[in-house]
Amino acid sequence: MKVSMNWISEYVDLSGLDVEDLIRRFTLSTAEVEEVYHLGTEINGVVVAEITKIEEHPNSKKLHLLELDLGDHTDRCVCGAPNVRVGMRVPFAPFGASVVGMTIGEAAIAGVVSRGMCCSAAELGIADSSSGLLELPSDAPLGKPVKELYAFEDVVFEVDNKSLTNRPDLWGHYGIAREFSAIAKRPLKPLDLQDLSAYDALPAVPLGTIDPELCYRYSAIRADGITKKVSPIDMQIRLYYCGMRAISLLADLTNYVMLELGQPTHAFDSRMVGTIGVQRFTEPFAFQTLDDTERKIDPETLMITSDGKPVAVAGVMGGLNSEIVSDTDSVTLECATFSAVSVRKTSSRIGLRTDASMRYEKTLDPALCALAAGRFLKLLLSIDPGAQVVSRYTDCYQYRYPEIELHFTKAFVDRYTGIDISDEQIEDTLTRLGFGVTRTGSAFDVKVPSWRATKDVTIPADVIEEITRIYGYDNFNIETTMSALRPILPLTVKADEAAMKDALVKRFGLHEVHTYLWCDAKKLNDLKIPLPDNLRLLNGMNPDATVLRTAMMQTLLPVLKENRFYAPAFGVFEIGRTVKGLREDGTANERRTLGVALLSHEKERTVFLAARDMIASILFDMRRKHASFVRVEPVNCWEHPANTAAIVLDGKPVGTISTVHPEVAAEIDKKASLVTLELDMDTLADIPADELRYREASRFPGIDIDLSFAVGKDVTFADVTGPFFADRDETLSGISLVDVYEAEGKSMTIRLSFVSPVKTLQKAEVQSYIDRILAVLAEKNIRLRTV
């Protein structure tokens, strides 16, 4: 929204104050000013002139030679405007004067020398483009500089509409003036209004059914005998400076009142309206709006009707069928309040956001209707004294917001601010902002003004904002709190996450990436991985990105592929969320999940076992028991049927490690070895860390006994060592692998280490234990190798 300081100054006397500083304080107290424009400064020496003679240009049919009366002298110039006529008064820039973008010099125009220029509105910076000269009133004093007659010079600032969403009262200059009145501590002048009660004896504007739910207030008044078509120059300038453009007097007046009060109004040609209603239709239909566009109207849409036929989309835009036209001499003015939600929905449904709908969306104060009518008539009657009001102010006021009274004390304010703002200052600020304040000592009874009571100010905390923003946040103390100290321990999930990331990055050189919560259907298809059946986004913009991932690999494997030329061996990981379907209560089963994807040109077996060592080592470092790996059937299509294992901690599966299925691997990199790993960080967090307990080292030497077994091809290290762990001698301190040798048959050598805390062990002392276990192994056909 653009704000004219000239307009503001009409309502608050800001003389003697620095405008730039006021605008800066507006940013700090009310809403951020994005841009400040100093307008009209370029225009110099332009004066009022009357065209006294028009001659043909010798070399052009479009150009004319004008003779001009400047009061005390005459001048001449060449002019190309089509609307020239004798007796017309226009702005004239003589030699040496300046207009927007240029200084007038001497120029030969089609062979005739011209030392001056008659100006259009665009040349004076008050229109985007013009088709002819700006016509000045016939009584404009000749020779008088136009800047002395009209307010070309103005300081205009722009506020982002977004920072005004919660303040319906700031959508017009009068509300902004009220802010300046509080900021500058200068009185706010009252609005100059026509007294509507003077017309109470006149007939009503016929009103029919007014929607009781969505229309809070509908009022109308009618005026006849309107002859003026063009708005005064000053009004045209203000409209243009505030981002609109002058069209015709009646249209301009509705816009002017809207920019002044924030209340949209609508001017109907009285000839085109009968009994006015506000209603919704049961069937959809097409409707032509003022902008000459046909719009589809749904049954929820609130419409203004005349004798039952639609004439306007309530709160958004009028219809072409009832608009003000060139011979309109009677206007029926609508001042209404509609439900903010209804207007917002209508506006987004029909795809039309207007200055009116934007304001209605903010929840306008219904009290504004009567002010808008009074202001419109005041302006109309002063500009066009021949016009006359022919109806009474017909008002259907159906919904009134409750009056809000708030009670608080200075102590309440102090608690919020942490500083001492005096009772008098609180009272003064609130009074200037229009609050009704009754103060008893430091106790306040405050009546919220109607323009702040539609949603904005409802509780005492809202009043704190009013007091503090005008006081100025720059004037606050910067002060620490007096809060009790308490220990703060990191959450297990956070600590685990940090430990996991550090180990993967620092010990194993992996790269952390971020991927999306949803699968990319195209990328998965490229890897021959089907989309999972899972929760979906209902309203995503990309139809290929709707299904949430059930596993990290759905988003990490594409990353692995995209980076496949990054290095001969690398790994990526992410700790993110996966969604494993729904819980029993229907909510998403969201899991914190670690995903690791490795690519290497080493042997697959090496990469797979290294990945196993990596995760086992990290979990060991995190003191989460000893991980074991149990071969399982694959669940996901990228997991290899031969080498997929559950990562088991404390008897609980916490994750999966696998090589990649050849079908999928071929799509990622035909030559590389690929390994994937997923680990449920939530399950991990539930497994308590082992406590550290000191175990004294034995003072006696231990003995190592190596045993070589001849085993079948599929016998694993776990098969051979399992019985020793299952029936563990108290002196058995460890079992390690010495060698696996596969030539003719498979042979495996393991080393048993024994140590006693009380004596030096002799081999004979453990032999009976070893023999017992060997017997168990023999039953499984695992025997010592015979040399």
Partner: protein
């Protein structure tokens, strides 16, 4: 009488001259100084020496013995030094400019920024919390004083899910749960990933990180809010950051503020980065709305609090000079592998 002492000395030096390896030095030692060595042999001539000269003769032989011994030692040392010099000279000069074969890992830039801010807050006694990405309407809106049809719901385009839940649009969605978990007094921050249904470009992402912070206690005031924001931001940016508050509207705070920091590029004088204002808008904050405290089970008569939201993604971009937000979720190691710590 055989060879004279002088002849023997001369002969020894000739031999020493020819000797060049460790073994020959040892041979020389045995030949001259061994039990049957030639120098030792001189003592056998003692009988032929006049008794009054014997003492002198013995001393001379011993002197020669010492001389031979030292000469051999010197030559051994010399030879050792020469050999060492030769080996050192022959040793390969390793090319330290060869590329490393160790692969260095990397963190995601968000992790680095997040840790940094977490550490600052942890040092000021804030608990670091974590929350779901998938939430319900109540936590994301209702509990934050954003009723249905509120324009704030238009301001953020929400991803809705097929089970009726939604992806959290802001970290504020965790406020209610955290208030309920800890009660008052409370100091907590909660970083998290947020989602907005909007099209992506260099400045917009549908998936980004925020960090929310709340502090609730008796008599928490706007002055305290300013203190914490200024302290935290000065730490983050490693300079004395000037902050200013402006009114800002967010339904879950009252009063609500936009917090600006002094522009680091121009030092507050005004430049294109700060739109000539000298200030950069950084984070929304405010005093927690009483309705939000109530929804979180906090006694509003007793407690007040402040809340703020920090854009971690934006912070990372500012800190590292990342121009295109899409790089962060690209998974492209060529750009991401530089974030080491």
């Amino acid at each position: 009488m055989g060879i004279t002492m002088e002849e023997l000395r001369k002969q020894f030096y000739e031999h020493l001259q020819q000797a060049n390896a460790a073994e020959t030095f040892e041979e020389l030692r045995v030949r001259y100084l061994g039990k049957k060595g030639e120098v030792t042999g001189l003592l056998k001539n003692m009988g032929a020496i006049a008794p009054e000269q014997r003492k002198e003769y013995g001393a001379k032989v011993n002197a020669l013995k010492e001389e031979v011994e030292n000469s051999i030692k010197d030559r051994i040392a010399e030879a050792h030094a020469r050999e060492l010099e030769r080996r050192i000279a022959a040793t390969e000069r390793y090319d330290l400019s060869l590329p490393s074969t160790l692969s260095e890992g990397s963190y995601h830039p968000i992790t680095l920024v997040q840790r940094e801010v977490e550490q600052i807050f942890a040092s000021m006694g804030f608990t670091i919390e974590d929350y779901d990405e998938i939430v319900d309407d109540y936590h994301c809106f209702e509990a934050l004083n954003i009723p249905k049809h509120h324009p704030a719901r238009d301001m953020q385009d929400t991803y809705y899910l097929s089970n009726g839940q939604l992806l959290k649009t802001h970290t504020s969605a965790a406020q209610n749960a955290i208030m309920r978990k800890y009660g008052a007094p409370l100091r907590a921050i909660f970083p998290g990933r947020c989602f907005r249904n909007e099209s992506t470009d260099a400045c917009h992402e549908n998936t980004f990180f925020q960090m929310e912070g709340i502090m609730i206690d008796e008599n928490i005031s706007i002055s305290n809010l300013i203190y914490f924001m200024k302290t935290m931001l000065s730490e983050v940016f490693q300079r004395d950051v000037k902050v200013r508050l402006r009114p800002g509207f967010f339904p879950f705070v009252e009063p609500g503020f936009e917090l600006d920091i002094s522009c680091a590029i121009c030092g507050g004088k005004g430049c294109p980065s700060c739109k000539n204002s000298g200030w950069l808008e950084l984070c929304p904050c405010g005093m927690i709305h009483p309705n939000v405290l109530k929804a979180g089970g906090i006694d509003t008569e007793k407690y007040t609090g402040f809340a703020f939201g920090l854009g971690l993604t934006r912070l990372a971009m500012m800190k590292y000079g990342i121009k295109d937000i899409r790089d962060l979720n690209s998974g492209n190691l060529k750009s991401l592998d530089q974030f080491v710590k």
